[in-house]
Amino acid sequence: MVHAVDGVSFDILDGEALGLVGETGCGKTVTARSFLRLVPMPPGVHAGGRVVFWPRSPCPVCGGTGCASCGATGRVPSPCPVCRGTGCPTCDGTGEEAVDVLTAPEERLRDIRGNRIAMIFQDPGKALNPALAVGDQVGEVLFAHRSDEVLRRAGIDPTDTSVAGHLLRRMANQRTRQVETLALRSPGIRGSARKVRRVVDDWVAGSLAETRIADPRKIMRSYPHELSGGMKQRVMIAQALACDPELLIADEPTTALDVTIQARILDLIRELQARHRSAVLYISHDLSVVKRVCDRVAVMYAGRVVETRDADELFRAPLHPYTRGLLAATPSHREERGRLAAIDGTVPELIDPPPACRFHPRCPHAAEVCTVVDPVLTSPPASEGQVACFLYRTPHEVGVDPEQMPTLERTR
């Protein structure tokens, strides 16, 4: 049994960019995939815990443009469907709708995937369908989640119960059968069907243009293999943002790209995040990339989060010995760093992780308590954020003798 993710907790606030950093095999991708229940089960086992998603609805005051009452996000929490916002046991008395992604019914999840929470994958070459033109792939998202809006924009009443309305609705939901394609070509309905397609095409072209793709109409007709890596990644971003999701998960989106293209994609993600005011979970093994994109950073080690702090603070003064080690081991082209301070040893196998603090076999400060007691994420003194390390606890809090506690001065 591999404990890929073992007791990870963190929050992503509305509209913020959170970076999830860690080395290969620390469980960051599994964590992200759990957000959309994309971890195959079996062989995966959900051993416990919740991924709670608080859906948002457009602010009733400003209608989504951002005002004082919604904190300029344009969104407010959705009311709980059971108690209608008055507070009940299902919503912990908050009156806000909460969806546990890990246990929600498949249908509810389908409404969330790609719509409320969207994902950009590491390898755009593999994530895009090679047999579909780019425009059709991006359009699929709209058909799947925005069919009513598409019909409305085409001037068709989505609740129309006539045969024509029924056919168009089926078309907008991509449920058209072979016989129906003939019906859609009949003179009475042909015009409306074309209108629906035009609306989707315009919408797709708009999303592609937003990612600064030159000549989006031409790109829509091309297939993924005709595009460069950077272009493919832009298409995937356009697809992810087409439905204006509340949360965008980006799993190493620039690892396969060149430095100069990476820089432009990072800029694009930042810019679109600001414009859409969506939250971003940015996963990377590269601290420098996270520094450029994120407001807050969570560092993972061996299936656990060891430090969650404001990005500027974390890079200025890392607290957890692992974070310190990572930063000291990263070569910089802006500064001479002398000999790199490599972290000794290797990342533990997650089949049999070390007991208590998982970093203690490699930690320069490790003391007795680190080998017996499991550190939990707590607020460090004189700093915001959270860190899971006994260096920032008092012996009294932990309940052990002072000499069993690690200190920054004592290294082994």
């Binding site: 950077g230 430095v259 080690g325 910089s332």
Partner: protein, 458 residues
């Protein structure tokens, strides 16, 4: 310190200014084949006329985007592929260098028979792709390679002891128990041990596999190791271990490294001198200090601005590079970077292809282009379907759709009926020039060609 080894190429001396390898006008073209007969329709110019030297005991870093030719350059230097033109010269003495450079300066058809013989002698003794027999064997053992992907460069069916011991066996350095002891020594020098002897590559982690590759490269005590992105597949903490190991080994054995990487941070950490490559050419070369504190070429600056860094602050970020890398089969004229350069001047090599590059999709009538009659890369007649389209192009070239530098580089823009004659200022290929001691660049803003710019230079 001069690195001399008992297995150096016979008949050569380590040169006094310590250059181990000299690269002279090196070109490597790959043919593009098309059609049922696989006719050659063009060449990808992976490496296109580079000159530099690798000094004994130094680490020379080579950086650039993917496709700039840095890996091909490493493969040619290590003798894995033969160059199309030019050569890599190993251990030339000072007198021989002077002689060689004098001979190479003369066009081949104007060489006298005696000179030709002299060149032939030098080539046979020093040019890597012309070495034969013992000299070739000696070069191969003196120049080792560590590849990016340690998994695919280790034989999955061999044990570690066979992989690391193989070079020793091939060169009959050791056998039996002595071989095993040498292998253990090598493993210990890269931080592994006796207990790794009987493992297969798949049983090792990425970092350990890269250590095995390094141990194998060290087995024959080479003078030069070509490191082709040795850490880009590794995690940060493992990368730091490997980089430290490489540094220690260099100090211990007096090794020379050719360090190829796209990661500027790693290159700054490892290199004594740095070359920046773009589209098969070197655009800038200098000491590490100069390169990272005062880069001159706009491309070097762009690379550094693009690469995120843990030490950067928000304010330090520079401008970002726009556009894509041009097709290496048809590289731009003049300075190859001029198509993306933010500080481009009219003297940087604008050409007819740039009209298409910058106006495609702008509705400038290029969709109705029917034919191009080229007199030179800078001079052509474009034939359009009708006068209106031709007019649109002329107006686009006079307007704000193209940069001011491009408009200024236009010497002639004339429409006759439906054809447009375009002529740009002719620019020769831009050579590297030493603008400060030990600092070469090809950017017009810093070289002697700056005089062409007149008062624009400010």
């Amino acid at each position: 310190m001069t690195v001399t080894r008992e297995h150096a190429v016979r008949g050569t001396h380590a040169s006094s200014n310590q250059a181990l390898v000299r690269v002279r006008d090196l070109r490597k073209y790959f043919p593009i084949r098309e059609g049922p007969l696989q006719r050659v329709v063009g060449h990808v110019r992976a490496v296109d006329g580079v000159n530099f030297e690798v000094r004994a005991g130094e680490t020379l870093g080579i950086v650039g985007e993917s496709g700039c030719g840095k890996t091909t350059l490493g493969r040619v230097i290590s003798g894995l592929t033969d160059p199309t033109e030019g050569g890599v010269y190993y251990r030339l003495s000072d007198e021989d260098v002077a002689r060689l450079d004098a001979l190479l300066a003369v066009p081949p058809e104007r060489l006298s028979p005696a000179q030709r013989e002299e060149l032939e002698r030098l080539d046979r003794a020093h040019r890597v792709d012309r070495l034969q027999g013992d000299a070739w064997r000696a070069y191969r053992r003196n120049c080792q390679v560590v590849f990016q992907d340690a998994f695919s460069s280790l034989n999955p069916r061999q044990l570690v002891k066979d992989i690391v011991g193989r070079p020793l066996k091939v060169y009959r350095e050791a056998s039996g128990g002595a071989l095993l002891e040498r292998v253990v020594e090598l493993l210990e020098s890269v931080g592994l041990g006796r207990h790794h002897l009987y493992r297969y590559p798949h049983q090792l982690s990425g970092g350990q596999r890269q250590r095995i590759s390094i141990a194998r490269a060290l087995a024959l005590k080479p003078a030069l190791i070509v490191l082709d992105e040795p850490t880009s597949a590794l995690d940060v903490s493992v990368q730091a271990q490997i980089l430290n190991l490489l540094g220690d080994l260099q100090a211990e054995h007096g090794l020379t490294y050719l360090f190829i990487s796209h990661d500027l941070g790693v290159v700054r950490h490892m290199s004594d001198r740095v070359l920046v490559m773009y589209l098969g050419e070197i655009v800038e070369g200098s000491s590490r200090q100069d390169m990272f504190t005062a880069p001159l070429h706009p491309y070097s600056q762009a690379l550094m601005a693009a690469r995120p860094d843990v030490m950067e602050s928000e304010a330090e970020r520079g401008w970002l590079l726009e556009g894509a890398v041009p097709d290496p089969a048809r590289p731009p004229q003049g300075c190859r970077f001029h198509t993306r350069c933010p500080v481009v001047t009219p003297f940087c090599g604008f050409e007819v292809d740039d009209v298409v590059r910058s106006l495609e999709g702008h509705g400038a009538g290029l969709d109705e282009l029917e034919g191009i009659e080229r007199r030179s890369p800078f001079h052509a007649q474009l034939a359009f379907a009708d006068e209106a389209a031709a007019d649109r192009l002329v107006r686009a070239l006079q307007g704000a759709d193209v940069g001011a530098s491009m408009r200024e580089a236009l010497l002639q823009l004339e429409r006759r009926d439906a054809t447009v004659e375009i002529r740009f200022r002719e620019i020769d290929p831009v050579p590297l020039e030493e603008v400060r001691p030990g600092h070469v660049t090809s950017c017009i803003l810093h070289t002697s060609r700056r005089a062409d710019l007149g008062d624009r230079a400010s």
